[in-house]
């Protein structure tokens, strides 16, 4: 029923409503810098009208509720892209780190050391009897070995570094999942009364955004208003008020295995290659796929270098011959075939090798030892000891699972040559390098201790050898340009390809990072344009609500005046 009381009622509702407007504006202003905060606004509606003889009479304003400005579609897209951004950020930073180990734009890279090593062979070929050239060659050999060792070591360190980040990342994922589930529960409880839990929902969205940075997820809002978060392969991380943990272990093949710990002890192993987006996928895939590829390429290059240099080196003799020598490789079992028991056993082919004996520096005898890949180390020892020519001069034995050969007489020395079987390479006898991969590449201690054993020359069929002979050094120097490395490239070509590939991959990750950075910042702007707080806008609203409040107050004073007027008529 209309009347002055109704006017007062109307004014009182308006006062309360405008005051609420000021409060909500204050909340907005206060949270201008709060991450994940969505601008809120009061939803004003007209109050239910009162029937009157003149038709429904308006009864002023009513508050329908407080709404948050939130666009679920933009937010979902933003989370998705943030996930990819974080993936490429992690990849890019890991690859940049790896790229610095192969930074050939600065001095002292492998490429340069490789050139210097072969140049040292050229210098030795120019002056095969020169002590200085021999020492310089050994130093270059050591430099090259160091260069490979340190790169290999750094790759291992980088993998370790990535591994150390995986477990904390998974802990973070688990804690975000748990937070989402907890918030869901609070939201359900709060909203059961029919009111929107705006700030709790903001927190929940923030947790989802943080989770997206760590691992690629999809979110679904179910009918009852709760949220499900699943991995890209469909396994749920959060389902309603339940959350499920992830855990990681190192597998037997040194890869990271991620397990999803489902309800009632139901565990499932996640194929890490199906993970997409997020820091975790980048960490695992960089550690288990990208870096191992480069490790493998580097190892292949080192192995090719060891094999080719040693194949050639073992064909020759130095200024001095051996009075005794020992192989650098150990067999796993002296009775097993060389092909399977030596690290480089796969290099051995059917063939033979020559051993030349000098007595007092004059060729004395030469013998041929036939080699078959199926021979065991014991077989080789026996065939040397029982050789009709060599047996009397030399004694071969198995020493620490390596081949050891000693000249019987103090006046005798021996040298090797014409090894068509590559057994010397595989056994590490009369070789230049030791090891079988980048990490173990080294210079043979025999030549290091006695540079005169660097085999620049060769023995003739009779065993004659001379100090001015540079044939082997020439052949070794020529390896620089020979298509010997992996894939039939020269060593430097193969290495350059590795560096270029690594550079391209790092560049690609960086470009992707930049691209997604742009996308994310664009989507963030879109999200902010909906949900963000603009202080000037809030100030305007503040003024607006203040004025409305003043107007409502004015209404009260007007009603009061109406009462006074009415009452005065009774005096």
């Amino acid at each position: 029923m209309s009347g002055i009381t109704a006017i007062l009622d109307n004014a009182a509702r308006a006062l309360m409503a405008q005051q609420l407007g000021v409060e909500v504006t204050g909340h907005n202003i206060a949270n201008v810098n709060t991450p994940g905060y969505c601008r809120q606004s009061v939803n004003y509606v007209t109050a239910y009208p009162e029937p009157s003889p003149w038709g429904p009479l308006g009864r002023g304003v009513a508050v329908d509720g407080i709404e948050r400005a939130f666009d679920p579609f933009i937010t979902a897209r933003l989370n998705d892209k943030s996930s990819l951004l974080s993936d490429y950020q992690t990849r890019s930073s890991a690859l940049e780190q790896v790229a610095t180990y192969f930074n050939e734009t600065q001095d002292g890279g492998i490429n340069e050391v490789l050139s210097q090593y072969f140049a040292a062979w050229q210098d030795l070929a120019d002056n095969p009897s020169g002590a200085g050239e021999r020492q310089a060659l050994l130093n270059q050999g050591l430099n090259l070995a160091d260069a490979f060792n340190s790169r290999a070591d750094q790759l291992v360190q980088e993998r370790l570094n990535l591994l150390q980040q995986i477990s904390p990342t998974i802990n973070e994922i688990n804690s975000h999942s748990a937070n989402i589930a907890r918030l869901t529960q609070q939201i359900v409880e709060t909203e059961s009364s029919g009111q929107a839990a705006n700030d709790l929902r903001d927190q929940q969205q923030l947790e989802i955004a943080k989770l997206s940075d760590l691992i690629g997820v999809k979110t679904y809002t179910t009918g009852d208003g709760t949220i499900s978060v699943t991995l890209s392969n469909g396994l749920p991380l959060v389902q309603g008020v339940l959350s499920f943990n992830l855990s990681s272990q190192l597998s037997a093949t040194d890869t990271v295995a991620v397990t999803w710990e489902g309800p009632s002890g139901h565990n499932e192993t996640i194929d890490t290659s199906t993970l997409s987006g997020g820091k975790l996928a980048a960490l695992i895939q960089t550690r288990d796929q990208t870096i191992p590829e480069y490790q493998q390429e580097l190892d292949q290059l080192a192995k090719a270098l060891i094999v080719e240099v040693n194949n050639q080196h073992s064909q020759g003799v130095g200024l001095q011959l051996f009075s005794q020598t020992k192989g650098t490789y150990q067999v796993s079992d002296p009775t097993a075939s060389l092909a399977t028991s030596l690290p480089l056993g796969d290099q051995i082919v059917n063939g033979s090798l020559q051993i030349y004996i000098d007595r007092d520096g004059v060729p004395q005898a030469a013998g041929t030892i036939a080699i078959d890949p199926s021979f065991s180390l014991n077989d080789v020892v026996n065939s040397i000891n029982s050789d009709p020519v060599l047996g009397g001069y030399l004694t071969a034995s198995v020493d620490g699972n390596s081949l050891k050969i000693v000249a019987n007489a103090a006046t005798d020395t021996f040298g090797f040559g014409a090894d068509s079987s590559h057994a010397l390479t595989a056994l590490g006898v009369n070789t230049f390098f030791t090891g079988d991969k980048a990490y173990t590449l080294g210079v043979n201690a025999w030549v290091l201790d006695n540079p005169d054993l660097v085999a620049a020359g060769r023995c003739d069929a009779t065993g004659a050898h001379a100090v001015g002979d540079n044939r082997n050094a020439l052949a070794l120097a020529a390896l620089e340009n020979a298509p010997v490395g992996p894939s039939g490239l020269t060593f430097s070509d193969a290495y350059q390809r590795l560096v270029t590939n690594l550079g391209l991959e790092a560049q690609d990750a960086k470009n992707q990072e930049t691209f997604y950075q742009g996308l994310v910042s664009q989507l963030s702007q879109m999200r902010d344009s909906v949900s963000g707080v603009n202080l000037d806008e809030e100030l305007t609203n503040l003024v607006k609500f203040q004025r409305s409040y003043q107007a409502a107050a004015k209404l009260i004073s007007t009603a009061d005046e109406l009462y006074q007027t009415l009452l005065e008529t009774k005096k």
Partner: protein
């Protein structure tokens, strides 16, 4: 579109960050002089620079090899030139002595001169370069030419027509200087009939005639000769005694790499170039025979040796022509590598070195942009409705 506080401040921060990143990169490229700081800056260019650097370092190495080649070839050339000069002098002397106008004592003196030449050839042939004997094949650690033990050489026969005399020289020489025993038949006949006399000074003085014995005749200092057949009066033969010079090196050619697939022989093998192997062009043997012929006062044999010297002279001249050609090739290669090195250095620099003018220009541009961004940001940040309420 609504602009919010976070949009505004994020974009200000983002833009300033990006400009600061650009400034840092340009600064690094100017300070280091290198266009790229990491292989991911431009993997393709970095790969190309690596390949060019490898080629460049090989070129430098081949240039070093060529320096070695040049010193070996020049040294060999000058050694052979010295030997050739000695051969010329020997030929001049032999030419004189082959004529009948000189007597035995003059030829004895000439023989001494030839002995001197012979020793000099040996000395020159044992030349070393950085402690390596360049004419020894691979056996560079020992002098290639050494004197052997005293050897009584086979008799050089000059028989009159119808003579069937044979002389087998032998014995072990106990003397200390080289000499030539000259034997002449005083009267014809075989063992026990014919008589001979011996001279050790080219026929200036003779021993008393003696009858040819059945066994070996002692000519003195352990030199023996056994005569057989039937001799005529006036038959002569000479037995030279000298220490032959032997070649101790091997016959390997010393090669070095002067290109990825090219090798160049930079030595000469001593026995082929000089001798010591008793072959057709063994200068030592030719000179030793010349000397013996002079000692035996035999102008005819001197003439024969002169012919051999001429043939040797042609031999060594052709070897030296080969050396000259090799030196030319080295010179040409040096020019090629010099030009290639310049080209490679230029290319590496073009691809990898900072273009300072462009970089400084860019720095200025970015600096201006940064200043402008700071200015506009401060203006935007300064604006608020609060200032007016």
């Amino acid at each position: 579109m609504r602009v919010t506080m976070s949009t505004m401040y994020n974009s200000i921060q983002g833009n300033l960050q990006s400009l600061a990143g650009d400034l840092q990169r340009i600064n690094a490229s100017i300070a280091s002089g290198k266009k790229y700081q990491s292989i991911s800056d431009n993997p393709v260019d970095v790969g190309a620079i690596l390949a060019l650097s490898t080629e460049n370092s090989q070129t430098v190495q081949y240039e070093r090899n060529l320096t070695t080649a040049k010193s070996w070839l020049s040294m060999t050339e000058s050694t052979l030139q010295d030997i050739s000069n000695i051969v010329q002098a020997s030929m001049a002397l032999a030419n004189q002595m082959a004529t009948g106008t000189y007597n035995a004592s003059q030829r004895q003196a000439a023989a001494q001169q030839i002995q001197g030449y012979l020793e000099e050839v040996m000395q020159v042939g044992n030349t070393e370069l950085n402690g390596q004997h360049i004419l020894a094949g691979y056996r560079t650690d020992a002098p290639p030419f050494t004197e052997g033990d005293w050897q009584v050489q086979p008799a050089v026969m000059h028989l009159t027509s119808g003579s069937s005399g044979t002389a087998a020289s032998g014995g072990t020489y106990t003397g200390t200087t080289s000499c030539t025993y000259l034997v002449e038949m005083v009267s014809g006949g075989g063992t026990g009939v014919g008589t001979y006399r011996v001279s050790t000074d080219g026929g200036q003085s003779w021993t008393a005639p003696a009858v040819i014995p059945a066994g070996p005749i002692n000519l003195g200092n352990g030199v023996q000769v056994t005569l057989g057949g039937t001799w005529n009066a006036g038959d002569r033969f000479s037995i030279p005694v000298y220490r032959p010079i032997n070649y101790q090196g091997d016959t390997n050619n010393f090669e070095i790499a002067i290109g990825t697939t090219n090798r160049l022989v930079i030595n000469q093998v001593g026995n082929a170039a000089v001798g010591g192997d008793q072959g057709a062009n063994d200068l030592f043997q030719i000179l030793a025979q010349l000397k013996s012929s002079l000692e035996a006062n035999d102008p005819g044999d001197v003439g024969a040796s002169l012919e051999k010297l001429r043939s040797y002279q042609a031999h060594i001249t052709s070897i030296m022509a080969g050396l000259g050609a090799s030196l030319d090739r080295v010179g040409m290669k040096e020019n090629v590598y010099g030009a290639l090195k310049d080209e490679l250095t230029q290319q590496i620099s073009d691809r990898g070195d900072t273009d300072l003018v462009a970089a400084v220009n860019l720095l200025n541009t970015k600096e201006n942009a940064y200043q402008a961004a700071l200015l506009s940001s401060s203006k935007v940040m300064g604006m608020s409705l609060m200032d007016y309420l």
